[in-house]
Symmetry: none
Subunit: 196 residues, 4 copies
DNA sequence: GATGAATGAGTTTTCATTCAT
DNA sequence: TATGAATGAAAACTCATTCAT
């Protein structure tokens, strides 16, 4: 089996293992067993446990960014664009529960690769922020800008909502998207000008 | 040294260790060393690593709940109550960063004590929800209820805002509280009735 | 069993293992098994494989130095002193074949602790050098000084002779001591003045 | 690329690796990588790690013997012959530091191929011995024979001197050869008859 | 002639936990 | 109340070696 394919297979099974109990609780033995390969393969292909983790969060983060950027074309009216993007975001979380958990579900500090994970999170948050900004309907009477603080609050609300949703499968995607669209629309204008 | 005091000391040093890299990365050896006691003491007092973890999150959760409940008496007008409670929340996060992280910073699934942690989180979130609800000014025209989901979104926004704030010390607590009060007031009514 | 005693026992069994195939070929498993303890003890007491190795060569080097320094009092005439010290040296090699092998029998470069081993060897060589110098009969007609180079040559001859002797047990200590005394007496005056 | 050439290239890079930390610390992976070939080639050409090691020490030993035997023709007077050979010896050590170390720098016991290495060493030492013997000026008054032990001592002195020399580049080869010639001339007759 | 893919068995090291004192 | 001594089990990682192509 060619290397590139094997690498994808390994990353596929690594997701649930990393998501299960976090980085430290994940065992290379288990990942190897689930992938049906021997441990040395993991090290040949990814160098180390950190290398494997890094590869995994990168693949996941890359896909999330790509999907967000692809959702909501410029022809859609602002509000529809906002909804499409938020919907895409929750669709991603729904389809890649493990990836989402690994990316945003664990406290970063002191973990190996903490800085890389934090950087990836920052890039995603920044992308989301710009997206929200550009997706909201312009309102000449109430000009506003998503300040840095409020942007963090909104992204954090989305993360938290996504994590909550993962543990409440009885709530449909439609519903959670509606909820979040409402929060964004309501909260964004609350940004007091002048803070920061 | 009396047992009760020792237990508190041990829990004090356990916080940073659990917060550092999550439950699995925390080592009993390190906790014992930091507490200046021998490992058998840890087992005499807390039975096991899980027992120690349990004791820690309980103490933290209890204090958070107590402080929130104590803030904002019934004599305060609703909006002032909301502000006082939010201020207390940020004060807690500021003072107990480790405890906050351990309580809410790690995805629950598969972790030891997952159910206990989830239950504690639920109780805290529910308390916060009721608190926010009862702290908002009643508005006959826009009846609403803070659904569970929106409560999580709001709490998540708060956490994210708190993290952002800690990296921007030039922003005063007053300002960040104002920001968050604005978000809560705006976002809370956005909760669509009927969700959950 | 008290720690100090256990440490000595462990060092005792570590000798043959390190001497067997060099540092890399030695296995902590085997040392633990021979010492009748579990592997974690080795790490509790010595920290790491390198730590154990370090402790071993230090104990060995210390004893060699002590014995050399104690041999041949100032009351002995120079030649007798020389012979006593050389005899003590070979007695040490005979009694601590393993220790000698570990100390001087393996190439140093790139080995873990290479610098520490080299430093220890240097100190021993320097002590031997001073000892040889002060043990030789003064000869007014042929004043000479053991130059640095010739000192190294003489010490090297001793090492090599000792290693050779280890593989030729049919040669008695008396004989090898005689041989080396002869070499030292003959070679020392050969040091050309002016080199270095 | 023809096999014979490849084999030489592989042996060339194997030297530093074997010399670095001894037989056990050397890794086939590293040798393959340095040689720019795949590991299966190593096994095709040399059969095993031991086979490669064997080939390496044989090539090295063969070259040392050849060079020594070629130096100092029968037409040279004894003393000049001695000097030429010693000079050749130092030249070899200087040029093949790695090979020299692998051949003589590691204690033999328990190493794979111990007997083969020991045998090769014996042959080289014996050759050196005969060479020194036949190179010294005959002295009717002091008949003597270089015993095996003294030959080792002399060779060891040379190695030690060579190591010292490499760290003192301000000393010329001329000078160090002079020094060693002096030692050999002085020490060789010291060999007590009857030992071995 | 040459190699990418693959692994069984081994390495050092750490951890939660217990027991005799 | 308190601990020094001790360990079974498992972790991450490496190595010499082989096979299908």
């Amino acid at each position: 089996m060619p290397r590139a394919l094997r690498e994808q297979q390994i990353l596929d099974v690594a997701g649930p293992v990393f998501a299960g109990g976090g980085y430290h609780a994940a065992s290379m033995d288990e990942i190897a067993a689930r992938a049906g390969v021997s441990k040395p393969m993991l090290y040949t292909y990814f160098g180390s446990k950190e290398g494997l983790y890094f590869a995994y969060i990168h693949r996941t983060g890359r896909e999330l960014l790509d999907r967000l950027l692809a959702a909501g074309g410029p022809s859609d009216p602002p509000l529809a664009r906002l909804r499409l993007r938020i919907s895409e975001f929750f669709a991603f979380v729904e389809q890649h529960r493990d990836g989402w958990r690994v990316l945003f579900g664990e406290v970063t500090s002191n973990r190996p690769l903490a800085e890389e994970v934090a950087e990836l999170r920052r890039r995603i948050a920044e992308t989301v922020r710009r997206m929200l900004e550009s997706s909201l309907p312009e309102n000449a009477d109430v000009p506003w800008a998503l300040s840095d603080g409020i942007a963090h609050a909104i992204v954090g609300a989305g993360e938290s909502l996504a994590n909550w949703w993962l543990e409440h499968p009885e709530v449909s995607r439609e519903e959670v998207v509606d909820l979040y669209v409402g929060v964004v629309q309501a909260a964004a204008p609350a940004a007091p000008r002048g803070v920061r």
